[in-house]
Subunit: 348 residues, 2 copies
């Protein structure tokens, strides 16, 4: 009798097999809404200290799995570890979001390292190995990186800004210099994702949080094309690598993104239009999303309705239940439980 | 021989007749990028003082028409004059955006006046009459209001916020109370728009700047339905009233918006997906947009390319050239001239 690997429902969906009860996890599920996270966070120094301590990072990655039995764990880290490994100064100040030294002239961009110091990312790989060893084999382990466009918006401006105008402006005025940043991020993201696969990640997700501020020509050049190159680069080494894209705010540009990048799945935000997704996106790839995080804070009938809307729109196809963006710190635990019960009670 | 009214190219487009050279204007064309505006603004007291002084408001409305010969003038005002006329405190502090007293509990909402004091809006009507009298008859005069959803987001939070979460949350938690704000805004916006038509506006535009943060169910209820009621209410009195909607960020929800609201035209932002617009929106209504305001600041080859993209995408149909959002104060005048020369040189 051969020993069988336990089935991972999340991976099944990415492999083309719809599940009767959609697998479920939440973006930022290891986070401040969880008391056990807040407790560890209070003793762990800076945010990057937490990301780069394999014991702590593994522990907070596992906390939501123990608490809620989610179908996927996502390694606790940040999209800005890649610029950090490229030698850029990256700080997280409490309540403020990230701060970097801006990189916004062609002269400065020429000084950008071409290759990351992957030794700096070794703690992420070690955390993945620890999570892998501890994780129920039915649970999928997700590694991730930021898409080059989104990472570059922070590197250029040195912080988050409304509509990420500084990077958009640099891309208009100095497209060659901007492309040099993107190229560095493409190459190093490929290596970083391969390292995460090697350390035990089952699936990779590429977060393009700021894709939605780009006009079509720029969306094609700065969001789609770098993501396509990353997918191609990872698959050149690991042909069956499973990859999910998340071009937040892409709206009607999603079908084009899915076709061109060749991702296996796509995360959708809470503003997605259901018929576009079911007719032109879910026919090609698995869909993951898209509960409004505010509905999860609101709870009650509004939450039930929002969960039901997502299930009615997407659960007939290949579907992974998730939020449309990260869970917010003020979200009550009871509302997460209410959401889970409703998703797991789905019979479609 | 009968005397003929001069043709207004902008109105022609809304009446179903495509123009070989698209009419052109710019959102916020009366604004700080213009030296003559900055000069008047410096002497005019507060922003609301400027809006409510008919002589000044008419003058700044006409400035961009004299400077650039645009095909439309839009009355200089603000979407928050309606809450002001409803007795809410509305202040504009330099460099900060609007401030109102928040209206975020069912108890407070019960105190909201049901009818505006339209005497407070008389200066807007007087400014329209003055502009009408002074305007080249080939130039279209646009009146406007904010869509109830967008106006309500400011009334609830008391200010602009990322994603307008306070109003979204109130709408989830207290839908009946929130609907009461929307109902008041629908009724008073109808009266305000009829007043603007009566004072000489040729066309009305309804700005729903924050439509794009809503999930589909909420988009239908809070953006589409109130706008539909306003269009219906205005046309009940003025059956041939021409109305343009601008649900910014609506993405793939635009075809549904256009069908349900029965607007004559729709403004599109710079992230619109061209094939969705040309196949499912422009087939029904006139399209107005959608140059990225940052491309206008950037100028040069990036601006030429962006203008050409908009013309190539939309000028074969019923089209009014515009920006995808308001022009920004730092925009060089020379770039506006570069844009205009390119649009007016179009032969499609």
């Amino acid at each position: 009798m051969s020993q069988q690997q336990p089935v991972k429902p999340f991976l099944e969906v990415l492999n083309g097999r719809r599940q009767n009860v959609p697998p479920v996890w939440m973006m930022r599920q290891a986070g401040r809404y969880l008391p056990e996270y807040r407790e560890l966070r209070a003793t762990a120094g800076s945010f990057l200290d937490l990301c780069f301590n394999p014991e702590w990072a593994a522990e907070v990655t596992l906390q939501p799995i123990r608490h809620f039995g989610f179908d996927a764990a996502i390694i606790f880290s940040d999209i800005l570890v890649v610029p950090h490994a490229l030698g850029r100064s990256v700080r997280f100040e409490a309540g403020e979001g990230p701060r970097l030294d801006p990189l916004d002239t062609p002269e400065q961009i020429k000084t950008l390292a071409r290759a990351a110091d992957f030794g700096k990312l070794e703690p992420v790989y070690e955390a993945l190995r620890r999570v892998r060893a501890a994780l129920d084999p039915k649970v999928t382990l997700i590694g991730f990186c930021g898409a080059p466009w989104t990472v570059a918006t922070y590197m250029v401006a040195g912080r988050g800004t409304p509509d990420q105008a500084p990077a958009r402006m640099l891309a208009y005025r100095e497209p060659d210099a901007f492309a040099a940043i993107i190229d560095v991020l493409v190459e190093n993201s490929i290596q970083y994702l391969l390292g995460q696969l090697n350390a035990g990640a089952d699936v990779l997700q590429i977060f393009d949080t700021w894709a939605g501020v780009l006009p079509p020509r720029e969306f094609a050049r700065w969001s789609i094309e770098p993501t396509r190159r990353i997918v191609e680069g990872v698959r050149a080494k690991v042909p069956d690598a499973k990859i999910i894209g998340f071009p937040r705010g892409a709206g009607a540009q999603l079908p084009g993104y899915v076709e061109a990048t060749r991702v296996d799945g796509v995360s959708i935000d809470w503003t997605a239009e259901p018929s576009l997704i079911s007719e032109r996106v879910q026919t090609r790839v698995a869909v993951q999303g898209n509960l409004d995080p505010l509905a999860l804070i609101a709870g009650g009938a509004a939450l039930d309705r929002a969960v039901d809307d997502a299930l009615a729109s997407y659960a007939k196809g290949r579907y992974i239940f998730n939020l449309g963006h990260g869970i917010q710190p003020e979200t009550p635990i009871a509302h997460v439980e209410q959401m889970l019960a409703r998703v797991r009670g789905y019979r479609g």
